[in-house]
């Protein structure tokens, strides 16, 4: 078992460089992911925030090569996992990575589990497949894992079927399955979107707790800035297939550079604002991703857009602060007063 030598080191766990993905669709080629680069260190959480259609899920799935083969028209760029290029691996080699190295949690716990198999079968499967455990040993380990993710009465619950569990419990089972082989990278794609607020909080606390305890790297993908604000080490904002801003969580809110980040942040209703506070909506809507227009994708909705923004695509550049990247010709220079953060 090759595990966890790299886990203690501070080296980058996941390094994505210039990843571009084009998908086939009836309306033409969809530029789903465009020139995305980022680095994730072991034990850190990178929150990827974007609206629907921004390409965040396509990006996440492509890391595990889970996109339907026929849908992918073009894929460029490199994905290094602990220094090893994984974007060129064969399906068989990838299969060995899934579980021990990368694991994934999906949005909808109702459809992520097989309805006709017991929880025991589904949690034990990777233990038997990847770790070569016997049926008995796998069952015992599965009970421990269900305990670890907070399923009460795991000894009895393990023989139930998914439909006998609530949504929150099912998501806990999905998390337990993801943890079976002690992955070094956990990709959580909207893990709480289908759940109630109270359960969302429980699941997020569980995930961040497990991530710290096991020193996993985590990609936390969400449409909700609030979900990542206090849980991610770094936040990446995605718009129309591109990363428009990446920064440590505690600096991005105080000195956001990209107008989209600012607009997204301002459009969210705040619990501390008085009732009937006028929201600062973003005019228009996200662009279609086939035949993208030249220039910055946000330019048509951007209050600061100049002529140049409609002609040229802004490259990713370094902002004043360390580790703060953005892709804008005219960044929102004035730091946002902290009074705006509630």
């Amino acid at each position: 078992m090759r595990q966890s030598e790299h886990k203690e080191s501070n080296a980058s766990l996941l390094q994505v460089s210039n990843l571009s993905i084009r998908l086939n669709s009836a309306a033409g080629l969809v530029h789903a992911v465009e020139d995305v680069s980022f680095t994730l260190k072991a034990g850190q959480t990178l929150g990827i925030v974007g609206e629907s259609g921004s390409g965040k899920s396509v990006m996440a799935r492509s890391l595990m090569n889970l996109l339907p083969r026929r849908a992918v028209a073009q894929r460029k760029g490199s994905v290094l996992l602990s220094g090893r290029e994984i974007s060129t691996l064969s399906e068989r080699e990838l299969q060995r990575l899934r579980g021990p190295d990368i694991a994934m949690i999906f949005q909808d716990p109702m459809t992520a589990l097989n309805p006709v198999l017991t929880i025991c079968v589904q949690v034990s499967e990777p233990l038997q497949q990847h770790l070569g455990m016997s049926k008995q040993a796998a069952r015992a380990r599965a009970i421990e894992l269900l305990d670890a993710v907070g399923i009460p009465d795991a000894v009895n619950r393990i023989d139930q079927y998914p439909h006998q569990l609530s949504g929150g419990m099912r998501q806990r089972v999905v998390i337990a399955i993801a943890l079976t082989c002690n992955p070094s990278l956990l990709i959580a794609d909207e893990p709480t979107t289908a759940l109630d607020v109270t359960v969302q909080r429980q699941i997020l606390d569980l995930l961040t707790g497990l991530q710290k305890e096991r020193h996993m790297g985590m990609l936390l993908i969400t449409h909700d800035l609030g979900v990542v604000a206090s849980r991610a080490d770094f936040i990446a904002v995605m718009y129309a297939g591109r990363l428009v801003e990446v920064a440590p969580a505690n600096t991005i809110f105080k000195s956001m550079q990209h107008p989209y980040t600012e607009a997204l942040f301002n459009s969210i209703p705040r619990i501390n604002d008085a009732s009937h506070t006028r929201l600062q909506a973003i005019p228009g809507r996200p662009p279609q991703l086939h035949n993208p227009a030249p220039g910055c994708a946000f330019a048509p909705r951007c209050p600061y857009a100049q002529q140049r923004c409609h002609r040229e695509t802004p490259p990713v550049v370094q902002a004043e602060q360390a580790e703060h990247l953005h892709a804008c010709f005219y960044p929102v220079s004035a730091p946002v007063a902290l009074g705006g953060v509630r």
């Binding site: 109270t198 909700d224 909506a281």
Partner: protein, 335 residues
């Protein structure tokens, strides 16, 4: 119908003459197999003219069922729904049909609530055609412009040509065509993206002003509910826990469940890291509504529950030191 007249008037119903909508001892039962599930259990509340009442709670608490029961979709199993003093739940078919034009509803999924085969113009005009209202074309143009759609370019298109946000605008235009008094919004923005959500929330506020609407706003997102609501009602497992002015409830919740809900909201401030958890997190999950706990329904998850909570069901009482009057809570040991 139960003998509502023999039941005491609930404390939280206000004695004002501008009450547009008043629910008294509303009960909605659903048959699930051989069991009967009480989705809404003795809910009483009122909405005054021009007010927005936010209805919040976890999924399965009955908030959408209350919204639908107001529209008599389906009619409540017991209790009364009074719209401008008239009891909707007692009305016969034709009278109900006529009165109900004053109440309109918009839904969570704007795309599936529009007929994909009809043109936008016909969708918006349908209510006007059914009631043979005069000046239909002018009215259709007016409401479409009001919701931010250009009638000349969109009237002849069909719903699939629009995004979710624009479909919700069409739904709002349709609901306004008959000039209703009450608009019931059932999770109107939860299927929309954040950037579009703000547009629709602002639009609803504008429409409320322009057409003097009274609104019932059902949603699970507490920040969204606060943004649009004057009063907020919190439901748990079919029961009303707390009702009162939005600012008062959010600043100083009196029910442990309201406090737990508020504490669950993800914090937007990264500096707040580690500060979370001051308030005990809600443990466990919603019990089955088919077999609710005795006494207070929240007691199985309540950090403050005492023996009495299992025995005696709490009734609504005024919150003693609330910031505003008309703040009520159903708890033996309010915060």
């Amino acid at each position: 119908m139960t003998n509502t007249s023999e039941q005491a008037t609930p404390l939280q119903l206000r004695n004002r003459d501008d009450i547009v909508l008043r629910l008294e001892h509303l009960v909605v039962n659903f048959k699930v197999g051989k069991q009967t599930v009480q989705a809404v259990s003795d809910v009483s509340l009122d909405v005054a003219l021009g007010e927005t009442l936010g209805l919040v709670g976890e999924s399965g608490c009955g908030k959408s069922t209350v919204g639908r029961a107001i529209m008599q979709l389906p009619p409540p199993s017991a209790g009364r729904v009074l719209f401008k003093g008239q009891d909707l739940s007692n009305m016969s078919g034709e009278a109900l049909r006529q009165t109900r034009t004053g109440l309109q509803m918009i839904f969570q999924d704007p795309i599936s609530s529009l007929n994909p085969r009809r043109k936008v113009r016909d969708i918006v005009a349908e209510g006007l055609q059914i009631w043979r209202r005069p000046n239909q074309d002018a009215r259709v143009r007016e409401v479409m412009e009001a919701v931010g759609l250009d009638p000349d370019t969109v009237a002849d298109r069909r719903p699939h040509q629009f995004s979710g946000g624009q479909c919700q605008r069409i739904c709002i235009a349709r609901s306004l065509a008959l000039d209703p008094d009450v608009l019931i919004c059932d999770e109107p923005v939860s299927a929309l993206d954040v950037s579009v959500q703000a547009q629709i929330l602002n639009l609803l506020e504008d429409m409320k002003q322009r057409y003097q609407l009274t609104m019932v706003f059902v949603a699970h997102n507490l920040a969204v509910v606060k943004n649009v609501s004057d009063r907020v009602a919190v439901m748990y497992l079919g029961k009303l826990c707390e009702i009162g002015n939005a600012e008062a409830i959010y600043a100083r919740p009196a029910h442990p469940y309201t406090r737990a809900l508020l504490a669950s909201i993800p914090d937007m401030d990264p500096d707040a890291r580690g500060q979370q958890g001051k308030i005990p997190l809600l443990q466990g999950e919603l019990p089955s509504p088919a077999n609710p706990p005795s006494g207070c329904r929240f007691r199985t998850r309540c950090p403050n529950a005492q023996a009495r909570c299992a025995e005696v069901e709490p009734v609504m009482q005024a919150v003693a030191d609330s910031m505003t009057p008309d703040h009520f809570v159903a708890c033996h040991y309010p915060l």
